[in-house]
């Protein structure tokens, strides 16, 4: 494998963990190189130039060198002010990061998804349709990783989806009209599918249907393994005082 020297790449840090006494191993999402692992030597030293910038949800321009699965970070510059979320919004952003680590393979570029992720962080920062943005991000991550959803026509007949009809979404098959002797998959209303397909903000009822659909599909593709951030959400809600509104990936009072 050829030793590479890559320069000025836009990335987001997805997660980080300490390595040896003073270094960090960074799992980053690069626009042009996909998910990569980088060793940031000395990043935990008091006078490290990386100090304070190698955090998730920070837009960075970085250089790296090396070969194989762990490259060495050689330079990092912060491009914009880091997003600083409260813990509720942070949980939503962490959820997106977990989807990236679970669904994207290493060194597989997804430029469109990188841009979508960047938009998602901006929306979470502005408290703007967070739940809806997460649903669209779930759809995009499925599409980018080869599990794209056919939401506009029935699988067998290619008939266009009707808003007032209910359909079963069956993984690897697609949409089957309710009543066509099908019991598997998840039942979703046509109007929800149309809104989700055309990315038009749906009614609360349709939004719940879309949430059920993406949750079902993510679980199916993860073969029953649970997303850690979802479990942590549940734990957090159990600990909050009784008359505090529970936090969810969706915010009832979010700005539309």
């Amino acid at each position: 494998m050829v030793r590479q020297r890559i320069q000025k790449q836009p990335v987001f840090v997805i997660s980080r963990r300490p390595y040896s006494e003073t270094s960090l191993v960074i799992d980053a999402f690069s626009r042009h190189h996909g998910r990569i692992s980088l060793l940031a030597k000395g990043a935990r030293r008091l006078k490290s130039p990386y100090r304070g910038i190698l955090h998730p949800f920070t837009t960075l321009l970085i250089d790296w060198t090396g070969k194989g699965s762990l490259m060495t970070l050689t330079s990092a510059d912060c491009v914009r002010r880091p997003y600083t979320y409260g813990y509720e919004n942070l949980m939503c952003a962490w959820y997106a990061n977990e989807l990236i680590t679970r669904f994207l393979h290493r060194n597989d570029p997804h430029e469109l998804l990188f841009d979508r992720y960047s938009e998602l962080l901006e929306k979470i920062d502005n408290n703007l349709k967070i739940e809806w943005s997460l649903r669209l991000f779930e759809k995009h991550i499925l599409a980018e990783t080869g599990y794209g959803l056919n939401l506009y026509q029935e699988a067998a007949s290619n008939k266009t989806i009707e808003p007032h009809t209910h359909y079963h979404y069956i993984p690897e098959i697609g949409l089957v009209r309710q009543g066509d002797a099908v019991t598997s998959g998840i039942l979703v209303k046509g109007s929800a599918l149309i809104h989700f397909d055309q990315e038009i903000y749906p009614s609360p009822e349709d939004q719940a249907g879309i949430k059920g659909l993406t949750r079902y599909l993510l679980n199916w593709h993860m073969k029953g393994r649970e997303l850690r951030s979802r479990r942590i959400f549940r734990e957090i809600n159990r600990h909050l005082p009784r008359n505090t509104a529970p936090i969810t990936l969706e915010k009832p009072a979010e700005t539309q």
């Binding site: 997660s15 390595y19 304070g52 955090h55 002010r81 957090i236 005082p241």
Partner: protein
């Protein structure tokens, strides 16, 4: 065969230590067996003694060898101010600086969904009990200024927001001796957001 499996077992056991991979574990195992058997016996003794003797303080959750630790039982400490830190190492740093005279609570971690660490790993029930049973008037959140640390601080603040306790957080901004030219943008932004009024 017997010897080989014992060496393998030692190598596997040493890999449990943080930052120790297969190579380092092998080096340590061979060193202990070949060069320093006395040292190995000392490690065994110290480890076994520590495992039996060390538990968590029933108030502050820090490591301690009795029911209540030295700091919690001290008459000189201000029991009305409770400083919440992530790790025993953070507590030691604050003690070393000598800036704080109250008592502590050690969470033994921070919220980190990607590492599977949630509220249930952070001894929050014990924290509630400590706050309910003592005369705490102020909680100082001294978690790390990382995303995880700040999320943990926000979450703990929300746990106590309905109780009549003052909640504060360590100041953020320009470090002592810091030159603005060399500060990272995050710190500089925080310093402006939390600038202090002089007159």
């Amino acid at each position: 065969m017997e010897l080989e499996s014992a060496v393998d077992q030692l190598r596997d056991a040493l890999k449990i230590l943080p930052g120790v991979g297969p190579k380092s574990a092998q080096r340590m195992a061979f060193h202990l067996l070949e060069r320093d058997r006395e040292g190995a016996k000392y490690i065994v003794k110290a480890l076994s003694f520590a495992l039996n003797a060390v538990s968590h303080c029933s108030r502050c959750n820090n490591f301690c060898e009795s029911d209540i630790c030295r700091i919690c039982s001290s008459q000189k400490r201000d029991q009305s101010v409770l400083c919440i830190v992530e790790t025993p190492a953070d507590l030691e740093s604050i003690e070393h600086a000598g800036a704080f005279t109250g008592v502590y609570f050690v969470l033994m971690g921070h919220l980190a969904p990607l590492d599977n660490i949630g509220p249930e790993s952070l001894s929050l029930d014990k924290l509630r009990k400590t706050v309910a049973e003592s005369e705490v008037k102020e909680i100082v959140l001294a978690t790390n200024l990382t995303l995880e640390g700040q999320a943990t601080a926000d979450f703990i603040a929300s746990l106590f927001e309905q109780i009549d306790i003052q909640i504060s957080r360590l100041a953020r901004g320009v470090p002592v001796g810091g030159e603005l030219e060399y500060l990272d943008p995050g710190t500089l932004n925080q310093a402006f957001d939390e600038r202090r009024r002089l007159s």
